[in-house]
Symmetry: D2
Subunit: 286 residues, 4 copies
């Protein structure tokens, strides 16, 4: 571990000494560079290009190791499934409005990605946490049922009765979840993943249904991708990061479509609507 | 409380019906508009301009009422005192780097303001919370000393041993705090504020010193502005918002200075420095 | 003018050498610091607090000199007059939606400020540019009328027929503009400003009316604040920065009001609305 | 093309009328939804999951059609090759500093993505523009050489002597470019792309070398990905959007690594450095 050295920009043989603490201040194990050389986690970029997919690269960059192609395909699939949920989502509405305000595509995307916070972009992370907390209880000897009940109780105590990853205010059944779960099952049969978190996820579904007297609260996209991220061993906070990568695609597509539709300073409703004012009546000037 | 109606843009007498639920979706008590009319909290803008200062307007907008001129002056002072702490602050470094990347001043300011989070911009809010929690204990009958001890314990339990608003890793004594406190005292003597939170703040200082065996952990800028915001009756979360308004000034000044200095893609250290790489050694291609 | 030196944090007498190029990389003429000392543009902060208003501080920080109190009052007024134009503005709608997504107030404000780009926040800057370009023509000997005609032609060639600072799609007369202009006139009579840019602004209005066969395109808030910023000698790009400071107030007020109203993932229209889909019909699976 | 209708949330048979102009205000051809149904560009999500890669989805969302697997693989490769260039890049430094300020991963990513503007993230877009402008000249009958010379002249007139996509201030040869070009050649031989833009890119390189008296200004990552995006038919502005998607990966990886390294309010240089102050000397109080 040492500061990288390279000739001063002007090629001066008598380059002044550099303070290694400055180089250390920005130390990283992700990328190494010297003129003509770029290595990610030790892999030269020219060895990766054409050999490694975008999904494998995402994994390598965030976790330090190259995954197998089959595991990366599951990751690819989770990223692909969550790209968009339409302009009723605040992030997408923001991207579209921003695109009419005279800023760059990158700015419109940033204003939108910025709101993928605990409520809008955190459900996957919260669900991975719960799934992992249930798995940890099982590692400590609890049965699946007991671990699920305790994990659910904990999640509800932390965040309230709406359990992240389950139920949807719009879709009675989220069409993305069963399809993703089926592909996790396939991968588990092939030994690509263990299938443990798919089982936990379904047990959570069953426990929720039991508590709701038989009403089903099915897994949603956040639950299904959380199962995949947990199966693949991602730490929970990265689930939010991966969701940001995924949803950026819809954000970009909508910002771009809006750019082509045109408009200036697009507001949230048609121009001849005004908001309801519910404040104090007109005040007489003093 | 009702949806505002105004003639359709084209002046058509047969304007189509509007769904009042859409207007209600964006209801607000802050601003009322009709063509030629703008009222903030009931006050026509033309009655405010020239009569009301920027600080009074900030108060009116966030709290719904016009403050007196003296109270507004205290607010003005708190805003004025916290505008900048230099390029070692991540927000200011971000503003300066952003200004070299081909984005607008507004974008550079936004990237910077965005990082005024719990750690970088939340100390004032956290301190107002503690001050108010101490005051509430006194309202419930506790003595100042007991309330301060309990409030401090609570703050430390919540956020760790560094108490927001007290102590500074760079300034032995933050030169902004004593001066602001002196002005709060003056205002209290004139009856502009009660002086209660200044007393609480000083009691916290004393209690911290007692716990540190006599070593002083003096109030810093966040503590002093928190005292002012609490004296003026601001809810704690607005303390963060006010800090954002204040620090935006330094952010703007630095982004603008950097624009004039020039540079493209300014990195965090001089060009002939590279970061230290501490990851795995080069991997042989497969 | 040299890199500041100060004892290492741990008080070690044998502090390691520091590379002055690193300190120079972040050089600034805005702020000087040493332990216990903060100076803005040479002024110790404790000398400024209580003596200098927030508006004076904004001026000092962005321009390097302390303005007189009367000039600062004009600046204060321009900042105060432009704080909000309601939730139909994309920035305010963004702030309100962001506030329901589980992010901090600072984040909601940043997503909103970020869209104050060329179209949503650039009119003041563009208008100052035009006013200054007209003044420069007069300095070169042109008459007011000729300079205005040429300046207008240039602005229209650059940005199209909607001249920044004049006309409003909602207000037949923007109620903020005449009041601000009246106060500029007062200030000019007192010698606080020259009145030159107010005259130019009015001449632009007259020329626009002449070109529109008598239909008035009155100055709007961006035009009136541009007159003030030009009277006060601000470079055009700072007009956008000042607008960002001003509009941040409305952005904060709306984000905060929305926080109190509650809601989760607030979309742009009521929940039982969906967008119109105008893409291809359902595709049969392959 | 009509507003989508769906039962009111409460299942009320007497749902109030909705104003179709509100649904139209947010019209899009990207996504269609009804309860239990999500279609992107007409494709039901359950038909896409497991059949279509993330790269194909990015294409479908931004352009409206599903690409073939081979074309999508080229896109995947371009996205994969540009994920990171280390902490000297302002975006990555911003992501790392932001991660220490008490904001979410999504906020850190947004502050970083926000600076991928004309200078930091626009080179690919600018290069695609030039490549397409050269191709258009050839479509109009110009020879490759003449079209390249004219296209280069135009680019230089627009943006100065540094031609976007060519040359690198750090790498004598950018190791990513030759490898990407080789894969474009392979794809051209297989008929996946035409190879036209690879030829144009190389002709630009040759013309630049001729103008520099034999000194090579080789294609860089932005040039090589621009060739790929142009070969695949992407409009130039999307090249910036795609770069944002790609670089988000490095941004996420660095923000996450910094989170694990810890730190609070990470500045741009080690704590015992201060910036150089080059402003006015201390001012005596009035």
């Amino acid at each position: 571990m040492s500061g990288q050295e390279f000739p001063a920009a002007d090629g001066d043989a008598q380059a002044p000494a550099r303070d290694p603490r400055v180089a250390d201040w920005w130390r990283t194990s992700i990328i190494e560079m010297s003129p003509g050389v770029i290595r990610y986690r030790g892999h030269a970029i020219e060895d990766l290009i054409g050999q490694v997919s975008f999904a494998q690269m995402i994994w390598l960059m965030t976790r330090g190791e190259l995954p197998g192609a089959e595991q990366a395909q599951l990751l690819d699939m989770a990223l692909m499934a969550a790209v968009d949920h339409g302009p009723q989502a605040p992030s997408v509405a923001i991207a579209r409005m921003a695109a009419t305000c005279g800023v760059g595509l990158n700015n419109a995307m940033a204003s939108a990605m910025n709101v993928l916070g605990d409520v809008h972009g955190g459900a996957g992370e919260q669900c991975v946490e719960m799934l992992q907390s249930i798995a940890a209880r099982m590692d400590d000897g609890a049965t699946l049922e007991a671990a699920v009940a305790a994990g659910l109780d904990e999640a509800i105590a932390l965040r309230g009765k709406f359990v992240s990853g389950f139920g949807h205010r719009f879709h009675p059944v989220d069409p993305r979840a069963p399809r993703l779960l089926a592909l996790v099952d396939e991968a588990a049969q092939l030994g690509v993943v263990s299938g443990r978190f798919a089982a936990i996820g379904r047990a959570v579904e069953a426990e929720l249904q039991r508590r709701k007297d038989g009403r089903r609260i099915p897994m949603n996209i956040d639950g299904a991708t959380a199962v995949i991220y947990a199966e693949l061993g991602f730490p929970a906070p990265l689930a939010r990061g991966l969701f940001c990568l995924s949803r950026s695609v819809g954000i970009l597509a909508h910002a771009w479509e809006q750019t082509q539709q045109g408009g200036r300073n697009k507001g949230p409703m048609p121009r001849d609507y005004l908001w309801t004012y519910d404040g104090p009546p007109p005040v007489r000037p003093r």
